[in-house]
């Protein structure tokens, strides 16, 4: 009942505006996502989340009465991404672009946008280089690669070490990364961060995306007897790895997967309850509601409901991140804009100072502008993009770290051996 009332009011408002001759031209946004090729699966999930955001904002009367209209391009490879971005900018006159899911595509799209002075709002692309090229109109709303690693390592130091009652310095940690752009940059981040924290990695190897047999990798891990494994994988390799770990009876005290492979909900559909107890460092698919502001929580619930209805499964972390980043654009940036020129949008974005918990996935927004002590050449990076750690449970998934975002305590620590799972 409540829902229909809101819908009615929205429609009335919209028609009133139209009737009053303010047939506002729609705000046109270019969306570049991989709809074919190797990244198609996650690209399409992101695309569905973006469309839900558009529908939801248009139902709420758009932005100051102007509807949002997407013009999309299939960014299946960096070269295709650049051609599509330029097509949208030059042919359709787009001033705002967003999207990209994967790092190589994000690097390509943001570069094409910058070349034409167009405002690019990157939702999930994580490569560190995105904000290190001295670009002025590119903003990385999602977390950069190193934050994934830091979240996992901080979780080990602040939480797991105590639960396993072992001093951090004696913890044997293994790092496994898929040697594409995302895997490598997260791996590099973890290597640097653990080095700084005085933790030694007993295993640190990259593997090829076309690997069809994980036996050598699991066997080598078994031989290095790690306490904790951090693995950055894509969907297919994650499934292959977990099955092989079970087959070779490779047991660890804790397993932390990073992003796409381990955060996609259909991992459970593929390997069933083998997934229970695995931790995942990624955008939180679901956040402790009392952290979010009330109105943000309502938006979050509506998004989860619509996504589940459309896709038949809850959203993966990156899909939620895609939604929350574009929603922030619709609610915190565009309403303040008048000319919608890239420079104006840039100033608005740089002035944003949203605390954590303002966005649907618990992140806040505060962009660097060549003023970040760690790296003065960095601009457009969101310092308040929060990457947490959640855990697969029998019932679904629970956010377990950082404590202020957590919805539940970590369970199954140390991880029971395969026969007991």
């Amino acid at each position: 009942m409540h829902y229909w009332l809101k819908l009615l009011v929205g429609v009335l408002a919209a028609t009133m505006f139209a009737a009053a001759g303010f047939a506002q031209t729609p705000i046109r946004i270019g969306v570049l996502l991989p709809l074919t090729g190797p990244f198609a699966k996650n690209g399409i999930e992101n695309w569905e989340a973006m469309k839900i955001a558009r529908d939801m904002i248009n139902e709420r009367g758009g932005i100051n009465g102007r509807k949002i209209e997407y013009l999309e391009g299939d960014a299946t490879s960096p070269a295709a991404a650049i051609s599509e971005t330029e097509r949208l900018i030059t042919k359709e006159g787009i001033k705002i672009t967003t999207g990209s899911f994967a790092s190589p595509l994000a690097i390509a799209v943001s570069q094409a946008a910058e070349r034409h002075g167009v405002f690019h709002w990157e939702t999930t692309g994580a490569a560190e280089i995105i904000t290190r090229r001295g670009f002025k109109h590119t903003f990385q709303v999602g977390a950069p690669a190193r934050k994934y690693g830091q979240a996992a390592v901080d979780f080990i130091i602040d939480d797991l070490a105590k639960r396993l009652n072992k001093p951090v310095s004696s913890l044997r940690i293994a790092l496994l990364w898929e040697n594409r752009a995302f895997g490598k940059s997260v791996g590099d981040g973890i290597r640097a961060y653990t080095g700084k924290k005085g933790i030694k990695l007993v295993y640190d190897e990259g593997y090829d995306q076309f690997s069809t047999d994980m036996t050598p990798i699991v066997q080598k891990l078994k031989d290095s007897k790690p306490d904790i494994v951090i693995a950055i994988s894509f969907p297919n390799d994650a499934i292959l790895f977990q099955r092989k770990a079970k087959e070779l009876n490779f047991n660890v005290s804790a397993f932390i997967g990073v992003s796409a492979g381990y955060s996609s909900p259909d991992l459970r559909a593929s390997i069933g309850n083998m997934v229970n107890g695995i931790f995942v460092a990624d955008f939180p698919p679901k956040v402790n509601p009392n952290v979010l502001k009330p109105e943000v929580r309502k938006i979050a619930d509506e998004f989860y409901k619509r996504y589940e209805k459309k896709m038949g499964r809850p959203p993966a972390g990156h899909a939620t991140a895609g939604f929350s980043a574009i929603w922030a654009l619709f609610t915190d940036v565009l309403p303040k804009a008048k000319t919608f020129e890239p420079d104006e949008l840039r100033d608005i974005a740089l002035k944003l100072d949203l605390p954590e918990g303002s966005l649907v996935n618990g992140s806040g927004i505060k962009f660097t502008n060549f003023d970040w002590p760690d790296n003065p050449k960095d601009a457009g990076q969101n310092l308040r993009a929060s990457i947490g750690v959640w855990q697969w449970t029998k019932g679904g998934n629970e956010e377990v770290f950082p404590p202020k975002l957590a919805t539940h305590e970590p369970i199954m620590v140390p991880l029971p051996s395969w026969d007991k799972r």
Binding site: L35, T36, A40, I44, W47, E72, G73, D74, T76, S77, P78, A79, A80, I82, S83, E84, E86, R87, T90, K91, S103, P104, I107, A108, Q111, E114, R115, A127, I129, R133, G134, N179, R180, A181, G183, K184, S185, G206, D208, Q209
Partner: protein, 332 residues
Amino acid sequence: MAQSPGRISLAPARGTLSVFEIALLVLCLVLVVAPIPQNLQDIIVLTFLWAGLATAWNIAGGYTGLISFGHAAFFGIGAYTSTILLVRMNVTPWVGIWCGGLLAAFCGAILAVICVRLRGPFFILSTLAAAEVIRIAALNWSSLTGGPEGLAISPAADPVNMVFASKHAYLALMLGYLLLSYALTKLIDGSRYGYYLFAARDDEDAASAAGVNPLAVRTVALMLSAALTGIGGSLFAQYFLYLDPTFVISPEVSFQFALLPAVGGLGTAIGPVLGSFLITPMSELLRSYLGSKVAGLHLAIYSALLIVVVLYFPSGIAGALSGLSRRKGGKS
């Protein structure tokens, strides 16, 4: 030299330019200067670049019979050499391009030593394997190639760095590359060396008995083809300003090099150019209009059309247009 019957009217007697070729050249020059919308210019830039690359491949594939599926390796070597020289050693691409070409030619020689004795499917699969070895090397040699995170060139327009703001400059650059490849092909076409290539392709033993060393001739052809492909790779890098080993040195890229001449007309100078003028715009337009409607639709249509064209126009567009197929003359 009298025009023998059944000869492709598009491709005149060896070494001379036909009316059709001159008309095509004029059209290209017009396209470079004409005030066309930017996104169409982007398609034309790609069409010229791919026409040049297809012509380069045709020197090995069409003229010498070395059907290679490893040219993405030369393409990648050229692209990475000029980009590394620019990004890491600040060497202007105007020099880097030729270094890339030379290095690619050197690798072409190595590949020739390995594979040029092989024929038919063996050669195809060996070049495919060689390119995969180079892809994996590029992916893991992060200190040199930037590894999976790729290598980016700053988009600040600067003629010294061969980065331009206006598309016209890129159109001229790519047309120059196409003309370079095409001129070399025509040169070979009418030269003694060209005849050696055709002889080695048509009958190795007969060519050898006539004093032509087939392996040496093929090696030189592969080196030339590799060098031109390397230069094309550098231009690709200068246009897109970003290199990712997984996408630059991939079997799909090698396939595209071989596809355009096959569709256009293998072993003819004009074939690869016609192939690119048809396929490149078609695949770009298909992707931009159907790309996001139904995921995968545009590639399904593209591949279905490809199968039909390849099966029912075996001698390519050049062949079909000039009725070459009338003069089938047995299996080549």
